[in-house]
């Protein structure tokens, strides 16, 4: 089987392209780091890719709000390509800054189907940027294919604006009902009590319902704040004497598997 070609976006201060591409290739993808200008000038054609990952970083310095200026740039410069890609239901995954961008652009959770912002990722309740290893529990109810059989994930968060808040109660309810929550912050081992927050610092930013990652109705558009691409090898983990990397590997493997369908 040919390796699915997955595009990892780069430029304007995105900066996790290296490890994201490594994680994807490690799990069997033909991952290519592509600078934004190449899409804009059509030197690279998005339609030739089977998946797209917008990695973490500080696009435009997080000025105004994390992901906002990049979302705006995508909307006004390459939206035609993105729209087509999105309509074909190819995987679109945003990590950290990429997640912020997808939310600000309105691709997540996109309940209305109109690609308008419905939730946000705002300043951490602690008021601080934090680099902290956390645990993630995949949600059984989730329609997201990337969360399937993941077990649990041990990975760092590294953000100052990761607090998930929905526009209103109803929006949050619908996100929950439709199974759009793919990952929640949890205790070591991915354990958590249903309907009970794990609290700070396990939930590092004060996100509603401990939400760490959400998808759209198709499950294919997905974003999360933590960085599983940083726990692909055991040596990356602070506690090296325990095996921790399987969850992250499975997660990236799932993305590659979905991309392979195109």
């Amino acid at each position: 089987m040919a390796k699915p070609k997955i595009l990892v976006l780069d430029g304007f201060g995105l900066n996790c392209e290296r490890e994201t591409a490594i994680a994807l290739s490690e799990m069997g993808a033909d991952a290519r780091v592509v600078h934004f200008y190449k899409l804009q000038t059509r030197r690279e054609k998005l339609e030739e890719y089977a998946g797209m990952v917008i990695p973490g970083g500080w696009s435009f310095g997080d000025d105004i709000a994390g992901g906002k200026v990049l979302a705006n740039r995508i909307k006004y410069r390459i939206w035609d390509q993105m729209k087509k890609f999105h309509e074909e239901e190819k995987p679109i995954v945003g990590i950290c800054n990429g997640f912020q961008m997808l939310v600000k652009l309105g691709l997540l959770p996109n309940l209305s189907g109109r690609v308008e912002q419905e939730v946000t990722l705002t300043n951490n309740a602690s008021g601080k940027f934090e680099d902290r290893w956390i645990a993630l529990a995949p949600q059984k109810k989730s329609v997201c294919p990337y969360a399937k059989e993941v077990g649990w994930i041990s990975a760092p968060v590294r953000h100052g604006e990761g607090r998930f808040i929905a526009k209103d109660e109803k929006t949050l309810e619908r996100i929950e009902e439709m199974g759009l929550v793919a990952f929640r912050y949890a205790c070591e081992g991915g354990k958590r009590e249903e309907n009970e927050s794990v609290g700070y610092p396990l939930n590092p930013n004060g996100a509603q319902n401990d939400i760490a990652g959400v998808c759209d109705e198709s499950g294919k558009v997905f974003g999360m704040m933590p960085h599983p691409e940083c726990s692909i090898f055991e040596w990356q983990h602070p506690n090296k004497e325990k095996a921790h990397a399987q969850g992250s590997r499975k997660f990236y493997g799932n993305i590659v598997k979905e991309a392979a369908k195109f």
Binding site: L14, I22, H35, T41, I64, N123, Q236, K240
Partner: protein, 985 residues
Amino acid sequence: MVSRIEVALKDGLEDPAGASLKRRILEDLKINSVSSVRTASAYVIEAQLGEEELQKIAQEIFADAVTSGAFVNAPCIKEGFAFAVEVGFKPGVTDNVGGSAKEAIEDCLGEKLEGGVYTSRIYFLYGNVKKEEAERIAKEMLANGLIERWGISKDFEYANAIAQVPKVLPMQPVPVQNISLELDDEKLVSLSKKRLLALSLEEMERIREHFADGKVRVGREKEGLLAMPTDAELEMLAQTWSEHCKHKIFNAKIEYEENGKKENINSLFKTYIVATTKKAGKGKGWLLSVFSDNAGIVRFNEEWNLAIKVETHNTPSALDPYGGALTGILGVNRDVLGAGMGAKPIFNTDVLCFAPFEYAGMVPPKLMHPKRTLEGVRKGIERGGNASGIPTVNGAVVFEPRFLGKPLVYCGTCGIMPAKIKGKETHKKEAKKTDRIFMVGGRVGKDGIHGATFSSVGLDEDSPTSAVQLGDAIVQKKAADFLLAARDEGLYNAITDNGAGGLASSVGEMAQDTQGCIMHLERCPLKYPGLAPWEMLVSESQERMTVAVPKEKAGEFAALAALYEVEATDLGEFTNSGYFVAKYKEKTIAMLQMEFLHKGVPQMELQAKWEERWEEKQGKYEIPKLGEALVRLLARPNICSKEYIIRQYDHEVMGMSALKPLCGVERDGPSDAGVIAPVQESKEAIAISNGICPRYSDADAYWMAANAVDEAVRNLVATGVDVQTIAGLDNFCWCDPIYTKENADGKYRLAQLVRANKALYEVCTAYGVPLISGKDSMKNDYRNGSIAISIPPTLLFSAIGKIKDVEKIVSSDFKEGGDVVYVLGKTFDECGKSEYFLEYEVKGGKVPRVDAQANFKLYACLASAIKKGMVRSAHDCSDGGLGVALAECGIGGRLGVRVDLEKVPREGGLADDKILFSESSGRFVVSVRKKDCAKFENEMRGCAFGKVGEVKKDDAFEVKGVGEHGAIYTKVGVLLAAWQRTMKW
């Protein structure tokens, strides 16, 4: 036309930034009247925009559907607050957010904006706040008057409280002036001072002599230049000859006197630094480029090279801690980007020295409270590293009262580059004749003019504010992305950064390859009009690189820059004329002989006299209860957990970090070094550590330096580095070592510098550690009227070393109950200037010596044991000695320990307190599986080591002493709480 959009959180939403400000107002300023703070932002847009357009950008760009509303030409909050404080930048100060907002607006409207976008922050203070309190909050916490302006208002008219557009008004550029040097001595000196040239009388005379030379005159006449130097020439010489660029003190002739014996030293740099590398670097083919480039370059493996550099940014950080630290980080990143053919930064390491943050005394004029300095510097590093996507993997924070006069901000970066690109070795570069001179990145403004000369004089009340700059991490990131792409395409011959001295230095240095250049300054892209040509030459505006591009590739180079949305300007070409020529609108404004520019500076002649000032006789004291002493030591600022700072730095972006600054089961124990595996296909790793102990300078700068080297090396060994692979970087921060009437202690300080160099040579050569790069900052003094504060002489020794297999690295935390605990290395009666004696105010005592031979042997044995997988944890003993090291291992693993001090290898007659808290060098706490003990002990044969106890299965921390006071019975939880509480902010 000017419009204003304000953005504020929606009602009822909590404001974490406001909440943490409220806390800091109470804790740091002791103002308790503020009941809450709300924050908002304002964007002033200078463009002809209709209401519809303004609403569109307000909603699409500035508002957030969930959290915040945007208000066009209307206040976001109208009433209810006591005071609104609005803080914006002064004209000409880099406005990062304004730049991004402008790009977003342009995307949204599909057209370029003519004017700028200027941002400000608004703080609404609620409660029964007095006007004076609001003013203090503005002045001492929210705004820095050097770069920011602020306004305070009681009502919604706050928007008028500061001028609307902080635009630099068009200035009439000062025409080029000629400056006569035919002056008497006194006037020459005052000219140097007035123009901030920082040149000595002798140097001024040398310049005068040069311009008076008949041949020089004739040459100048041909170019239409007067015999007198132009302002541009004088400024260029001053920058190029500055202490900052030419290291005049390190290259001086020194007469050193010790106990009546005199010794002549011709250049500390050659005698000790270069000599160290010659001796210790013998046979080490992996040293590729040392001392000659912006950074040292070493081979990592067959395919990859590493470039590393550590810089200081002290003076700017004293004036504007945030901007100073930020530009420090971005500056050292550019050093690496400009080393060889250009390396991609992969990690930062930062070491900071402040006065204690609980300082309660008077803060002298122009200085800041140390807590404010710390917060600003921390934030600058956070922005510089995080936003650039470069992990901060290791560092240290040192507190000492004299750093009130000048904080030290050491910024280090390591970068990686392919060993060869298109068949060419990347650690070499050479500009060629007819190559175009390109300036890439940011634009030129008045910021940072005189940075190089300014850092070469002490800080006093008249220090100029133009030396303060703000960096833009994203402009630089974009430039770096472009340059690395251009490098891989082979589009240039040489590259260097624009740091101290601006274009004058960067182009001037690169022009040495061809022996000449010609620049056309009117092509310089400016931030605003009105700069004099000399200002364009020496401005230190940030985010700029200078690149030598072959003529035939200039088009391709410029086109690629445009795609990356990076500004690249062709300023002229490299020649072999023998002259640095600068023109402005076709008129020659500077023409300096390359030879004179770079080699004309006269060698200084200085005197140094060593005197024993330290009283080794130890003061009387009563031995405290040891458990209580340990708790008190763990809470001391120099020892306590720095988690508050560390967590706010990204330490793992790029996914290369293997040993992070925080380790252990709860990821909060201290690590000895940072370990990075930078190449995907390889398990090889690089470790980085820092050694710094300014306290010991009061006894003898020799031992201060020796301990710094030993600490850095020891830290690397603890993680699994083989000593044979270690290279070092020396970074001296001193107080003025030049004797004058006003600086009566100059000879002693210079003697301290000589002794530190001797120690550096002795210890490095004993360990076989070559030096690959270094830096010095010699005027870290504050003077204002009767107040004089000088920092203690400080050497930062940074070390890198290689690890063969990243999966075999060792961290400091205890791993499992039942493991056997060893102490390696011998403990001596060395409590002088120790954290222990400082805590209990005991005078005197010996400071730690370094027995390099014994240590070297021990390090080799430990490295071998680690390589063979026998060691489960290893931690070095430094501040606070063995007691603190044991506590830290326990804290990391959340496991207790049982130790018998009788088993600790030591000199005879030591009481328990000294065994526990002496800071002798060359020691470790190590844990080993029971079954590996025999093998381990065999490995350590011939070294001082003691099997002192074992790791407990629970959290009981038990130390059995040799004397009557000798016992500690406590819990790891108690130690953890003490260690964490000091900086739990």
